[in-house]
């Protein structure tokens, strides 16, 4: 039976073997052909040599998650197939068991593997003479003597073979490959196209048209689409929002965002500073915010731990920012430094001593990353609070194809800034003036008549230190009033969403990057006759208490789904609404939820009667 345009592909190899560029070229050529992709990488904290793999899912309709099976596995090395179980300290058993029945494995013929060694009689084997084909490709350019220099290009041979087996339009791949090599590198583009062509032709010729049951066919394009990942969506939103100052200290997986910004800083006049540590990073950003610039910093858990102190200073001094992007990864300490987790919800909510207002938003996908980041700058300046965008490694590094962002309805709101004319002749400007709403009009340092003081000590309206009990009470109320206000002003539609029919007997509850897997899992459940809906909580603070109470108050079975050990959001919901979850599905192996894990988890609960389910396909 032939399947068309529903395909999962995986390429694995040692870190440094170029699996990223190959997978991204494949993805791009699919998008150019009107298909839709979801592509995510898993890699080790290592520069060269350790096993990493890239997963690409191609569908006729946009996929929002990955699945745990592989239709076609491309192995650049033996370890990708069999794992490293022969080592003294083994870490994984390879991917051969993940290949779907009827699927196949592309591997290097020179490994001389016997079919029996795969331990599977339900899959197809596609041995390819990687090196011979590469030499042939290089010969066309007179480069075959420099084989060692071009050895990495076996990845492109394998890509070509994959395209050949899926019988996809080769011209689309040519285009995608060439785009990666511009200017002086253009010749390398031709070389790579030739390598892909050799793989393509070899696969078709040696294995025949029907060797592989899944085919990819071009579809009509549905408008212009981009291939974008979370860090890019955040970075572009920062540029759109008029952010002028970004600080960072190198850390996985946040650094990509800062590097993207630095590479575009010239066109947007944005300062990007690599600070000496995250303490400095947040404080520089807060200093810039106080000085009138929209500012931000990006980090992951270990860096955010260092930022706690600075967060408190931003809070008590009512700085108009910064916006902090927290790309969660598996902790604590160094944890699993290149793997994902949603375990910093409580930490973001409570980081730093004392009580002060902060806004925390947890976008669910690349598109929400963009809009929520843009809004974050408006909130920071409007309410004069630090804003934390709680996202994660998975969303940061995952590619999806989406329509181009439309920026027309996005408006910069800088909040209440005193004008020079307001200040003309003024002798009594008070930076922390009591107001009904708690927000004091702010001056920008440099403005005549706007001189103010600010301090991390409790302070009076002028910003001078005080320990007076009555002023303390007023100032605490003033600051905390702002978060109440934000809760009233920001519409529920931005804070939480109920996906699916409100009458469903089962309500899934989740937040952040698991949105895609939950939505796709719901469809799989539905095709199995199980109807569910999904409450996505997008605002952690101010919490959409009324809305969540209203949805969950009438829900029957409530299942929390979280990429952490203790179901932190479930706890927060109970705290805010008094409503407890009936079941939990958690995952804390450092890997993101797949579509099928949502399906399997829900089935375990409703068919097998399990109360708490932990899923993992590691």
């Amino acid at each position: 039976m032939t399947v068309t345009n529903s395909f999962t592909w995986m390429i694995g190899g040692p870190q440094g073997s170029g699996i990223n560029s190959v997978a991204e070229n494949f993805a791009k050529s699919c998008i150019r052909g009107g298909l839709h992709i979801f592509a995510n990488i898993e890699y080790h904290s290592n520069i060269k040599g350790e096993h990493s793999y890239y997963r690409l899912r191609v569908e006729s309709k946009p996929p929002r998650s990955h699945v745990d099976w592989v239709d076609l596995l491309v192995a650049l090395d033996r370890e990708t197939i069999f794992g490293d179980m022969n080592k003294v300290h083994p870490t994984h058993r390879g991917h051969r068991h993940e290949v779907s029945p009827g699927g196949g494995i592309i591997y290097d013929r020179s490994l001389n593997l016997t079919p029996e060694s795969f331990g599977r009689d339900d899959i197809k084997l596609f041995p390819i003479p990687y090196m011979d084909l590469l030499v042939d490709a290089l010969k066309e350019f007179g480069k075959d003597k420099e084989l060692s220099k071009y050895q990495v290009m076996v990845n492109t041979i394998a890509l070509g073979a994959s395209l050949g087996l899926a019988d996809y339009d080769f011209d689309l791949a040519t285009e995608a490959i060439r785009e990666g090599f511009t200017g002086r590198k253009a010749a390398l583009g031709d070389l790579n196209v030739s390598a892909a062509r050799h793989g393509y032709d070899y696969a078709k010729k040696s294995f025949g048209e029907d060797a592989f049951p899944i085919k990819l066919r071009k579809q009509p394009l549905t408008g212009k689409r981009m291939m974008i990942r979370g860090v890019q969506a955040v970075a572009i939103a920062k540029l759109k929002a008029g952010c002028g100052f970004q600080t960072y200290y190198p850390i996985t997986p946040a650094t990509d965002e800062s590097e993207y910004l630095e590479s575009h800083q010239k066109d947007y006049n944005m300062i990007v500073v690599q600070a000496e540590d995250e303490i400095s990073a947040i404080n520089m950003a807060t200093g810039a915010a106080h000085a009138g610039l929209r500012s931000s910093t990006s980090t992951s858990g270990p860096g955010f731990s260092l930022m706690a102190e600075g967060l408190g200073w931003a809070g008590i001094t009512e700085a108009p920012g910064p916006v902090i992007i927290l790309y969660q990864r598996a902790g604590p300490a160094t944890g699993l430094p290149t793997r994902t987790e949603q375990a910093d919800l409580r930490f973001a909510l409570h980081a730093a001593h004392g009580e002060f207002p902060r806004i925390i938003i947890a976008p669910g996908d690349v598109v929400e990353n963009y809009y929520d980041t843009f809004d974050a700058f408006n909130y920071a300046e409007h309410y004069q609070v630090p804003v934390i965008l709680l996202t994660d490694k998975f969303l940061a590094s995952t590619y999806q194809d989406v329509p181009l962002f439309n920026g027309d309805n996005l408006k910069v709101d800088r909040g209440d800034i005193v004008s020079d004319s307001d200040l003309a002749g003024a002798t009594d400007y008070r930076r922390y003036r009591w107001t009904e709403l708690g927000i004091s009009p702010r001056a920008i340092p440099g403005q005549k008549g706007g001189i103010f003081w600010t301090t991390g000590d409790e302070h009076d309206e002028y910003g001078h230190i005080t320990e007076a009990a009555d002023i303390r009470i007023k100032m605490m109320r003033k600051r905390m009033r702002k978060i109440e206000l934000a809760g009233q002003v920001i519409p529920d539609s931005k804070k939480a969403t109920l996906h699916g029919p409100s009458s469903s007997r089962i309500t899934l509850v989740g937040w952040g990057s698991s949105k895609g897997a939950i939505l796709d899992g719901m469809e799989e459940l539905k095709s199995d006759g199980i109807e569910t809906n999904f409450l996505q909580v997008r605002f952690v603070n101010p919490f959409p208490t009324d809305y969540v109470q209203q949805v969950l108050g009438s829900a029957r079975r409530k299942i929390a789904i979280e990429n952490n050990y203790s179901a932190q959001m479930a706890g927060l919901i109970r705290e805010k609404t008094g409503i407890g979850m009936d079941n939990t599905i958690v995952k804390f192996d450092g890997r993101p939820f797949s579509q099928n894990e949502i399906y399997e988890g829900v089935k375990d609960i409703i068919k097998n009667g399990m109360k708490e389910v932990t899923v993992s396909h590691a």
Partner: protein, 308 residues
């Protein structure tokens, strides 16, 4: 008209009577007046401790930050608005203990600003513990036992970190301090001024009398002026070996401590600032600081098209 009181606030000053901090804050105010800098174009930043209260006494934009974090916060504000004259102040514990990493890395950037270190050898506000500049073996009256670890050398650290103006002065010599602060503020680049200072409450070793050399066999002030001794720390041509030679001289001088302690300018050189380097990358900033750039009409379509 600008006068001394223009730079003063009405905030009650709660430093101990006789505190060296008074000399420093007075000298700062006098220097700003001498330079005829308008208060709204000045921003004073401080860390935590007695010195941390300084901004509240100066009529200028004032930022009383966190313990040890004065330099990052001042850096962010200065980069956002290079129209501001930025003076950061802090104690020796603040700058060289908890904030030592920031001290080093701020020097590397050569931001155009001034950092004034209130150097009295003790943590005053927490009641007199040894600070990073207290020499080994010294026991002040509030310490249970003498310090058993070595002191840091602020001047040598500043030279090694890349500050391009490195000087020392004395809180009780307001004339010298004023002159040094002015040179520091006028310097284009990161200026560091180590201000030796008495703490009459907790440091009963490095007292006014001690600095005056009253304990010496032949009574003579311990402090002497570098320029009077023929020392010249100014680099004329920073593109030559002169830089290393002058830094070497400064380092050697910086270790002079005891009966004779040098004050004055140890090193001064003009090289491109951090702001200059950023303007090379972003030429639009030559005309307009970041804070005045238009942020309402940024066109991101080229970035989106790149991804199609």
């Amino acid at each position: 008209m600008l006068e001394l009181k223009t730079y003063r606030t009405q905030v009650h000053n709660d430093w101990c009577p006789g505190c060296g901090d008074f000399g420093i804050v007075n000298a700062i105010q006098m220097t700003l007046l001498e330079m005829q800098l308008e208060p709204h174009r000045i921003a004073i930043f401080s860390g935590i401790g007695c010195s941390g209260k300084t901004p509240h006494f100066v009529n200028a934009y004032g930022f009383h930050t966190l313990h040890g974090r004065v330099l990052p916060i001042a850096t962010g504000a200065r980069l956002a608005n290079p129209g501001l004259t930025v003076v950061a102040v802090g104690g020796d514990g603040d700058g060289l203990g908890i904030g030592a990493g920031h001290f080093v890395n701020t020097g590397r950037r050569n931001l155009d600003f001034t950092y004034v270190l209130y150097d009295n050898g003790v943590y005053g506000l927490t009641k007199g513990q040894a600070s990073p500049t207290l020499p080994k073996g010294v026991k002040t009256k509030s310490m249970p036992a003498p310090a058993i670890i070595e002191r840091v050398n602020p001047i040598a650290m500043a030279v090694a970190s890349g500050y391009t103006f490195v000087a020392r002065s004395y809180a009780l010599d307001v004339r010298h301090l004023k002159q040094t602060l002015r040179a520091a503020i006028e310097h284009r680049g990161s200026a560091f001024v180590d201000v030796l200072q008495t703490c009459p409450t907790y440091n009963d070793i490095n007292t006014k009398e001690w600095y005056g050399g009253e304990d010496l066999p032949v009574k003579a002030p311990r402090l002497y002026k570098l320029e009077d001794s023929g020392y010249n720390g100014s680099v004329v041509d920073p593109s030559t070996d002169e830089v290393n030679a002058k830094k070497g001289n400064a380092l050697v001088k910086s270790f002079e401590w005891g009966d004779k302690i040098p004050i004055g300018v140890f090193l001064k050189m003009e090289v491109p600032t951090f702001e200059d380097q950023l303007a090379l990358r972003m030429p639009a900033l030559k005309d307009k600081p970041f804070v005045e750039q238009d942020i309402y009409n940024r066109d991101i379509t080229p970035l989106l098209d790149e991804l199609t």
